[in-house]
């Protein structure tokens, strides 16, 4: 296993694209988060910045960039395995490590480590940006908002949970691509699953069905972890929601592993 890990790590780190993508995850997430925070304005009217009037969730607002970051991190994971199928490298990999599940696990582990690293940078930068920008936009202590801080339990859950969320999305993309064995198809499916289900739940006329769909969709359920206000009214608790995303990732990983084990590469 350690040899397989070492081999996967060497392959991963010696691709120039990998580092650019890791950088892109952090940069894009932070940029979008900062832009969303900077664009926030209190609604017009007296005492409009009071918590009851804005309905704003500072933690969630300053983590907006995760919506974009997840696409880049999914791409990173898709290319980590899809690239080998694209170039035919996979055959060499499996010759070197004939225990296919060992190769698969090693690759998944390397992807996980990279995803966690990128996510920590992205989320950390977003929290700092939110902490610096939001008080100037009216979400200040004077109006009853606490400054974002990882010492605060709810904010820590939102930030730490976002790191876990990004990592789980990477694993979901990794598993899906292992199952379809094609980068383009993999990213297409992942984006479809991520973006389509929330929209379907937003427009479906049947409210009960829509609520179930929201509970089942990996993106909507997983992002409940970012909520620090109105947590009681969510269809699932934050950790349950992240659990849904984890189940999606697990399912995809198992499916990808099974395909790799059972089919010719």
């Amino acid at each position: 296993m350690s040899h397989a890990l070492h081999a996967e790590w060497t392959k991963f780190r010696t691709l120039a694209g990998t580092w650019w993508l890791l950088l892109a995850v952090a940069a894009l997430t932070i940029a979008v988060s900062a832009a969303a925070a900077a664009a926030f304005t209190c609604p017009p009217g007296p005492a409009s910045c009071a918590a009851a009037a804005t309905g704003a969730d500072p933690a969630r607002l300053s983590l907006t960039g995760v919506d974009l970051g997840q696409i880049v991190i999914a791409l990173l994971a898709v290319l980590a395995i899809g690239g080998e199928y694209g170039t035919g490298m996979m055959r060499l990999t499996l010759t070197a490590v004939p225990r296919r599940l060992t190769a698969y696990a090693a690759k998944a582990l390397v992807t996980t480590v990279a995803a966690v690293a990128a996510a920590v940078l992205a989320v950390g930068g977003s929290v700092i940006a939110g902490r610096l920008i939001l008080p100037g936009k009216g979400l200040s202590a004077a109006n009853g908002y606490l400054a974002l801080s990882l010492g605060n339990g709810a904010d820590l859950r939102a930030a730490g949970g976002s790191v876990l969320y990004l990592t789980l999305i990477a694993l979901l993309a990794f598993g899906v691509t292992a199952a379809v064995r094609d980068s383009a198809a993999g990213i297409g499916i992942v984006l479809g699953v991520l973006l389509l289900l929330p929209v379907a739940s937003a427009v479906i006329p049947d409210h009960v069905l829509a609520r179930h769909l929201e509970q089942l969709a990996p993106m909507t359920a997983g992002l409940y972890i970012q909520a620090t206000t109105g947590v009681e009214s969510l269809p699932l608790t934050p950790w349950q929601g992240l659990g849904v995303t984890a189940l999606w990732a697990l399912g995809a990983l198992v499916l990808g592993g099974a395909v790799l084990r059972l089919r010719d590469a």
């Binding site: 926030f40 609604p43 791409l75 694209g86 383009a184 297409g188």
Partner: protein, 536 residues
């Protein structure tokens, strides 16, 4: 010695023209089963989500009721709007102190005061006026009106002072021209004059009754020679415009009232000097408040209601009605599929090495890119046209069959939106193709194209960015092209949250198209440059 002619193939020489390149690319596209299926999926996804919506109407009903907007009963089959002269839904209820006005003539009056009462800020909307505080709705209005007849929805022209928007000349519900600015009060009264000459009605304003300026002049074709007119006042429902994450809706609201005091009412021309009879046109939402009394040449009108168009969309008065925008919600889902197809259409050639053969067959590289663009644009156009057409036509049929109310939309507006959607999908497909030619890797292309095309729209319309940030995304990103899908104009003279979720975009359709076209042109230019400069 005999000269031996070299062998020449009897086959005619192939032409390296654009037509043959186009034919080659079209053959490539239609013979790859996955791409054809992908294009079909794009059309089906566009239509499918819309059909999901049209099976409802219920959803917006429930939302409206839970917000307590007084729309109880509007979910039932009987909901209907008053329609204006151009077929659009309108509000038409106001207090009128008027009489028959025959032939040409003019009316002049001085408005000395316009005050009102509104629900308390952030307070509960109880429906009655207990707890109301003094205040004036920005679009409360009072002035002179001439109207076809006293039926709701009939043609009119009016000169008025609006609570927070100065003097306005308005006509036939949608027309609006500003005059003098500033508020009205005893210290700064406003003189208003309305004249009729045939079909032409002209409004004037003045601060002192001596120096007049023309505000506007409108031609109401077919206006009857004997019309109704006089003093009027109205005060629309107070809309507390609030933005919530996850779309943004209006919250709260309730009836408001306005009291206008006029004097120095003078008629001239064929119009007689009275008597002026008071009546409420339509049914007041709060009975017992409206009224009119006249003493010593002074007219005091207290009124509710509004004379204005009703905008489509969520959070407004027309909330329960299904709109064309609701049917088209699936466009972006179709675009994800189309993006995959367009990206693979070029990146698969690099993946398989086919690009070397393609460029050997058509050495003019720009021509290859152009041919591919034309093919994918045509595919995108047809997919968008079929998807949007099916979504709207089938959606309306289903909604009607289920007895839900559809927001009245002209066939011309529907056609414009359907063709607009087709243009949108065609251009976005070309953009994805150009990104593919730049990046040359399938997965990266799809992620990048989705990131710049679909994600900004998604964030602005459905998800978690504030409305202002979302509107910026819809101005500068290629998603600006979604403005082509806006079916209804935004009426600045009616307070509502004109959000993308309700089908209102920050740019005009042609401006959105220009932004999208600029992105596509820039990407194509870069792709053409790189295709020439790089080895394939």
């Amino acid at each position: 010695m005999t000269a031996i002619a070299p062998y020449r193939s009897p086959a005619s020489a192939g032409r390296a023209g654009f037509t043959s390149a186009l034919r080659a690319e079209w053959t490539k596209f239609r013979t790859v089963r996955g791409w054809v299926i992908g294009a079909l999926v794009a059309a089906l996804a566009t239509a499918g989500l819309g059909l999901l919506v049209s099976s409802g109407g219920q959803s917006s009903c429930q939302a409206a009721n839970s917000q307590g907007q007084g729309s109880s009963g509007s979910c039932q089959h009987g909901i209907s709007f008053v329609l204006g002269p151009n077929g659009e839904p309108v509000s038409d209820s106001f207090y009128l102190a008027g009489q028959r006005l025959a032939g040409d003539g003019s009316m002049t009056v001085r408005l000395t005061s316009l005050t009102g009462r509104v629900p308390p800020p952030n307070g509960p909307s109880t429906g009655d006026e207990s707890g109301y505080v003094p205040g004036l709705e920005k679009w409360a209005k009072a002035g002179l009106i001439i109207k076809e007849n006293l039926t709701q929805g009939s043609a009119y022209a009016a000169i008025m002072v609006a609570g927070g928007h100065g003097v306005r000349m308005q006509w036939n519900y949608t027309g609006d021209t500003p005059g003098m600015t500033g508020t009205v009060g005893p210290a700064n009264p406003r003189w208003l004059r309305l004249t009729r000459s045939g079909d032409v009605i002209t409004g004037y304003d003045s601060a002192d009754g001596t120096h007049w300026s023309r505000v506007g002049s409108v031609t109401l074709a077919g206006f009857p020679s004997v019309a109704q007119g006089g003093l009027f006042a109205a005060s629309p429902e107070y809309q507390q415009v609030g933005e919530s994450f996850g779309g943004g809706t209006n919250s709260g609201g309730g009836p408001t009232q306005a009291t206008a005091v006029f004097d120095r009412l003078v008629t001239a021309g064929g119009w007689t000097a009275g008597p002026w009879a008071g009546r409420y046109v339509g049914t007041p939402e709060v009975p017992g408040v409206v009224g009119y009394h006249q003493a010593d040449g002074m007219f005091t009108l207290t009124a509710l209601g509004d004379i204005a168009p009703i905008p489509a969309g969520h959070g407004g008065q027309a909330d329960p009605a299904v709109t064309v925008s609701d049917y088209l919600i699936g466009t972006f889902a179709g675009l994800i599929a189309l993006t995959v197809v367009a990206a693979l259409f070029v990146t698969a050639e690099y993946r398989r090495g086919l690009i070397r053969l393609t460029l050997a067959a058509t050495p003019a590289r720009g021509r290859v890119l152009a041919a591919k663009s034309v093919v994918i644009a045509a595919v995108g156009f047809v997919a968008g046209l079929l998807g949007a057409g099916a979504a709207i036509l089938a959606g309306e049929a289903i909604t009607r069959a289920r007895g839900y109310y559809t927001f009245p939309t002209s066939a011309a507006a529907e056609a414009r939106v359907i063709v607009g959607t087709a243009v949108l999908t065609a251009l976005l497909a070309v953009l994805a193709l150009a990104i593919g030619a730049i990046v040359r890797r399938g997965a990266a292309t799809i992620a990048l194209a989705t990131g710049v095309i679909v994600l900004p729209y998604f964030l602005a319309v459905f998800a978690a960015v504030p409305l202002s940030a979302g509107n910026w995304l819809l101005r500068v990103m290629p998603a600006a092209g979604f403005a082509l899908q806006q079916p209804y104009p935004a009426y600045h003279q009616v307070t509502m949250l004109y959000a993308p979720f309700s089908g209102y975009f920050p740019l005009a359709p042609w401006a959105g198209l220009a932004v999208l076209a600029a992105w596509t042109a820039a990407a194509l230019a870069l792709a053409a440059y790189l295709l020439r400069r790089r080895d394939a």
